[in-house]
């Protein structure tokens, strides 16, 4: 069932146009949006770890930076989906692709956990060194997103 859907997907005229003509251009946009996602997150995460931007509050920094992260993430999802369509069955079977998606899911869970639990008490540590749970969330985010990028690059070497 999945295999048939993927077959159908990569046979659509959009998918064929992507794989035959547009792939390098879409991939370039994917790299730019991905750089923005990871780069803005690294700035916020290192503040969360208490090692950078100590002169500004965490909530201020994340308020100003995360909208860029989300817009860029939207762009990454669109370009990523288009690239996936071009070779859906190949990516689906690719171990690096599966690792990338799994790590991205974990990065999302880490972010959701942080937002719902640790960030609730931000007033207590907004301008100080964040508590252990927050610092751990920051480190985890950097590790997971680096993994997403790492496996993303490896997809290109394994398909």
């Amino acid at each position: 069932m999945i295999s048939e859907s993927l077959q159908w997907l990569q046979g659509t005229s959009l998918a064929v146009a992507v794989s035959e003509q547009w792939f390098p251009y879409i991939e370039s946009v994917h790299v730019i949006t991905m750089a923005l996602v990871a780069g803005t997150l690294f700035i916020v995460d290192t503040r969360l770890m208490g090692i950078t931007s100590k002169g500004v509050t965490f909530s201020y920094l994340s308020e100003r930076l995360l909208p860029w992260t989300w817009w860029a993430f939207g762009g990454s999802v669109i370009t990523g989906t288009l690239m996936f369509m071009g070779n859906a069955t190949g990516y689906y079977d690719n171990t690096c692709f599966r690792w990338k998606m799994s790590l991205m899911l974990l990065a999302g869970l880490n972010m959701a956990c942080f937002q719902r639990v640790t960030f609730r008490g931000v007033a207590a540590w907004d301008s100080a060194r964040p508590p252990l749970a927050a610092r751990l969330a920051g480190i985890l985010s950097i590790v997971l997103w680096s993994g997403v990028i790492g496996f993303g690059r490896w997809i290109g070497f394994t398909t």
């Binding site: 790299v31 730019i32 923005l36 690294f42 500004v56 990028i149 690059r153």
Partner: protein, 157 residues
């Protein structure tokens, strides 16, 4: 020495041979290159936005530049080292490739802009001028072109 013989010599060096024969070395160096690029790109964006009077406006421009500019240079150092290793590992992919030279010209332009904008930012007070805002926008466009050119090296061999 012709470009061709330089390429052959570079490819025959112990470092190049070592990188070629180590499984995954090229991909892993590329990952380091991409992580440094992502960090630099986000730092450059925030520096540009601030120069244009947007983004992290709670902080004066010189103070923000004081933190972000050294970080940009650190990322550039990592990019230069990882990029050089990638050329050594696969000389033919770079030195006969027009897109590679286009990228290098763009990188030089980006470095010049970094020098200029950081000097400007360190003493910027008051409202942003039109010239500085334009330069900040150009700065981001140059970095985007560097990224696109970098990706296209792979397609123009």
């Amino acid at each position: 020495m012709t470009l061709q013989s330089f390429g052959h010599w570079l490819e025959s060096t112990a470092l190049s041979q070592g990188l070629q024969s180590t499984h995954g070395a090229i991909a892993d160096i590329q990952i380091v290159h991409i992580l440094a690029l992502a960090t630099l790109f986000a730092l450059a964006l925030n520096l540009s936005l601030r120069i244009a009077g947007r983004g992290l406006t709670a902080e004066p421009v010189p103070s923000l530049a004081g933190r972000f500019v050294p970080a940009i240079w650190s990322c550039l150092a990592v990019l230069l080292i990882s990029g050089t290793l990638l050329i050594v590992a696969e000389p033919g992919r770079a030195i006969f490739n027009k897109v590679f030279y286009t990228k290098m010209v763009l990188v030089l332009l980006a470095v010049s802009f970094t020098l200029w904008l950081s000097a400007v930012a360190r003493r910027q007070e008051g409202k942003p001028t039109r010239l500085r805002t334009t330069a900040a926008v150009l700065y981001m466009l140059i970095w985007m072109s560097v990224i696109v050119a970098g990706r296209f090296i792979a397609y123009m061999v």
